[in-house]
């Protein structure tokens, strides 16, 4: 490489790094974690068809948090949290409570197993 090319490459590299820093700093100061509301369990309502009444619910936690939610269902079935592989039966008109630690990172589904309907999209950040 001749000197001119080296200068161009160096300038380009500096420019790129500057842009990256700008993006990174901008993204970070928003603050990424919202503290989870301890004691207040979100409730997912499920209708007779096994569908979540207000659409698939997004729940996001950080690793180490306690994952806590309730499912109230108009239909009998089994609530299955994939990945963590937890299962609980819910009676028609009944409510179940899940309360377990977020030990696995990733995106997981919870579904009404018998109706094959996804009710929760569970995200665990590192």
């Amino acid at each position: 490489m001749n000197a001119k090319t080296v200068r161009i490459v160096a300038a380009a590299a500096v420019l790129v790094v500057a842009i990256v820093l700008l993006i990174v700093l901008k993204k970070d100061d928003g603050g990424e974690d919202k503290p989870s509301d301890a004691g207040k369990f979100p409730t997912i309502n499920v209708n007779k068809a096994g569908e979540p009444v207000s659409g698939i619910v997004d729940l996001t936690y950080n690793k180490g948090d306690q994952i806590q939610f309730k499912v109230h269902s108009e239909v009998a079935g089994e609530v299955h949290v994939h990945g963590y592989d937890l299962m609980k039966d819910v009676a028609a008109g009944g409510t179940i409570t899940y309360d377990f630690p977020a030990t696995i990172e990733g995106v997981f589904e919870a579904e009404m197993e018998d109706q094959k309907e996804q009710i929760i999209q569970l995200t665990v950040q590192p």
């Binding site: 490489m1 842009i19 993006i23 659409g55 592989d85 990733g106 997981f108 579904e111 094959k116 950040q125």
Partner: protein, 467 residues
């Protein structure tokens, strides 16, 4: 109203999906790609280095053992046995895709495992290819009875590798379009996978009978062509019945001379892109088209399959278009060879990109699902809970073997490395095609743009989630 909410999209084979790469990593990855590319523009070498394989044999003893008839027969039997187990499990086993040997074996262990390991080692599928083994056994039987070789039709050379390219699209379509839109929250069901394997086996054996085993493996048999493409990156190769080492990457340079090869590598990038984008980057666009089909009077399942098919075809067209634009650009540089020669001549430079896409999108799935493959799926292939062949039927998948951070770095690392290897091959090929190295370098601005486009699109797919 949106109909999409009423149709489950999930692949039940995957109990865990990757987190999208965070914005800061996306930014670093993209900048790394640009910095690497600036250096590539001023790449120093002026003589092609990869056009020759520099093949040299390994020890004669090792070569004799590995390529002996006994080894070939053993490996052929093993491949055939495993295909048989997969088909039997699919037909007789549980309908739960994650508990049935068939789906993980066909769509994870082989479909992803062979590309990953072939890219390091060379063509490891060929010796275990069950159809090749069956075809050769049938040929040997024919010779023993008739006392002569069976005659074959001559393969229409213009068809080239197109049957394999179309077959590749069909395999992915079966899993991610047909399978995941069946109206149940699972991918392809094991029974359907087994039926597909039987149909494919019948078709392959018939084609081998028509055109000859080796000819069909070289050009038409989807798995041989697809895995063979990645094996060209690998370190070992067989020549004239001897095993040898070669310069890594170098065997790719002679791969694309058969017509339709470009379509194979483009199909690979396109199908991986589609699978990565369907629940992330393309999700809202897919919903729009889907609703349009529903409003036009199609049923929900048909609408979803139609929509996904349209998007998969669009991915193929998009990837092909980017590549062809690059080729057309190169044609405009002083001293350029013909368009046809350029189109064929640079197709192999996309092989590292195709591999990088596979690693980026499926590395974690492979790592997790192989734990199932080698524990409970092996002990209880039917998934009925009634057998425990190796005492591992009750094992589970440990999703904590790698952290999300590790997965992110592997994903971004794969794309950056694939980018560098693609640029290397393209620069090298340009040196072979342009008499003047300065013209060669200038032509590579175009391929650089192509590679940057693919790599940054790959990063974007990862950041948009559900890769």
């Amino acid at each position: 109203m949106s109909w999409i909410g009423s149709l489950p999209f999930a692949h039940a084979l995957v109990a865990r999906q990757d987190l999208p790469i965070p914005a800061w990593l996306f930014a670093w990855g993209a900048s790394l790609v640009l910095i690497v590319s600036f250096f590539a523009l001023s790449a120093a070498w002026r003589k092609p280095r990869f056009e020759r394989e520099e093949w040299r044999p390994v020890g004669a003893g090792i070569s004799r053992v590995l390529l002996s008839r006994a080894t070939q027969v053993t490996l052929g039997l093993l491949g055939t046995l495993l295909l048989g187990v997969a088909i039997y499990s699919g037909l007789r086993g549980t309908e739960a895709p994650d508990r049935n040997f068939a789906l993980t074996f066909l769509f994870v262990t082989t479909w992803l495992g062979f590309p990953f390991f072939s890219a390091l080692l060379g063509d490891i599928f060929r010796p275990v290819n069950p159809w090749r083994a069956l075809g050769r056994a049938a040929g040997a039987g024919f010779r023993a009875i008739a006392g002569q070789d069976s005659g074959h039709l001559s393969y229409p050379e213009a068809l080239g590798r197109w049957p394999a390219a179309i077959g590749l699209m069909a395999v992915v379509w079966l899993e991610v379009v047909y399978g995941s839109s069946g109206g149940v929250a699972v991918g392809l069901d094991p029974h359907a996978a087994a039926v597909a394997a039987i149909v494919y086996s019948a078709y392959t054996l018939a084609m081998m009978g028509l055109f000859g085993v080796e000819k069909w493996c070289q050009q038409g048999e989807v798995f041989s062509v697809y895995f063979g493409m990645f094996s060209r990156l690998g370190y070992f190769g067989v020549r004239a019945g001897k095993l040898g080492r070669r310069r890594p990457l170098s065997a790719t340079t002679s791969w694309a001379t058969i017509p339709g090869s470009a379509a194979v590598v483009i199909a690979s990038i396109a199908t991986t892109s589609f699978d990565g984008a369907q629940e992330g980057a393309f999700k809202s666009a897919i919903e729009k088209v889907f609703n349009w089909f529903v409003d036009a009077g199609f049923g929900l399942t048909s609408s979803l399959r139609l929509t996904d098919t349209v998007f998969m075809a669009a991915c193929f067209a998009g990837v092909a278009l980017v590549y062809l634009l690059g080729v057309r650009g190169m044609r405009s540089v002083h001293g350029a060879p013909s368009l046809a020669k350029l189109r064929v001549g640079f197709a192999h430079t996309l092989i590292p990109i195709a591999l990088a896409y596979l690693v980026a999108h499926y590395f974690s799935l492979f790592l997790f699902q192989e734990q199932a493959q080698f524990t409970y799926l092996l002990s209880d292939p039917l998934g009925t809970g009634s057998t425990d062949l190796f005492g591992t039927a009750s094992h589970g998948i440990d999703f904590n073997v790698v952290s999300s951070n590790t997965i992110w770095y592997v994903q971004v690392g794969a794309l950056v490395v694939g980018h560098v290897l693609g640029l290397t091959l393209a620069h090298d090929r340009a040196l072979a095609y342009w008499p003047d190295y300065r013209d060669a370098s200038r032509s590579q601005y175009w391929m650089l743009a192509v590679m940057v486009a693919f790599t940054c699109f790959g990063l974007y797919l990862l950041s948009a989630g559900n890769g």
